[in-house]
Amino acid sequence: MSAFIQSLRLWFTPQRIRDEGETPDYRFSLANERTFLAWLRTALALVGGGFAVDQFLPDLRWGVRVGLALALLAAGVLCALRAVNHWIRCERAMRRGEDLPVSRFPSVLALAVALVALVMVVVVLFGWAG
């Protein structure tokens, strides 16, 4: 947890990241940035999915519809926050010459998305409408 707070402080004091280690090859920084952007797109897609569930499935029961939408939106928020955090940690690891951080977030996100998809299948099959 203290590692998380440390990187949280880095979010808002960007000059501190330059105090550590050496500047890596710019191509690695750019690759890290593209990974960050790919995660951000995933987050945007999840948020868009939340809007879509709310907007295009008006016949669903209120609880199911709101629950699904909130699950997707929460996943989107988590994904965006984690994108910044992971980017900072990778950047710092590259500067210090350490191994890149590993993360279980991709598996958790994949399971969550699979769960939402399963719920959708059930909803469609059993027609929990109106």
Partner: protein, 135 residues
């Protein structure tokens, strides 16, 4: 919303077409990276802007759709919501544009944490807006 398949692989692929083949530094004599890393990063920003546009349009549509009055007019709250969506979208465009301009040099500097936080913040703002609309 539409390009995640290509994006994931591309984001995790720092060396791409192996620019190390000729030159240990991986650069051509002109100082230009043959792996076109800045260009690829620029395109990644453009794709992300496109995703943000789609999410923003959905959000604005939602805001206006929810507030249409009986007379077919859009209520004040709907207009405020739509304006907020546009504001978030413009904020994201600004960050992306500055970064794209910054990538125009031969050896661009790394992304600043502030730009990363603002870009992620726009995503979170859209999600917060969605929660406000949904609940």
């Amino acid at each position: 919303m539409k390009d995640e398949t290509g994006a994931g692989a591309e984001g995790r692929d720092p060396e791409g077409r192996d620019p190390e083949a000729h030159d240990p530094e991986g650069r051509e004599p002109g100082g230009r990276d043959p792996g076109l890393q800045p260009e690829r990063t620029r395109l990644a920003w453009r794709r992300t802007t496109l995703s943000a546009t789609v999410a923003g349009v959905l959000a604005a549509k939602q805001a206006i759709h929810d507030e249409v009055t009986a007379a077919g007019l859009v209520g004040a709250a709907g207009l405020v919501g739509a304006a907020l969506c546009v504001l978030v979208w413009v904020g994201f465009l600004r960050v992306a544009h500055r970064r794209i301009v910054g990538l125009g040099t031969a050896r661009p500097a790394a992304l600043t944490p502030r730009a990363a936080v603002v870009a992620a913040g726009c995503t979170i703002a859209l999600a917060a807006f969605a929660v406000a609309v949904v609940v």
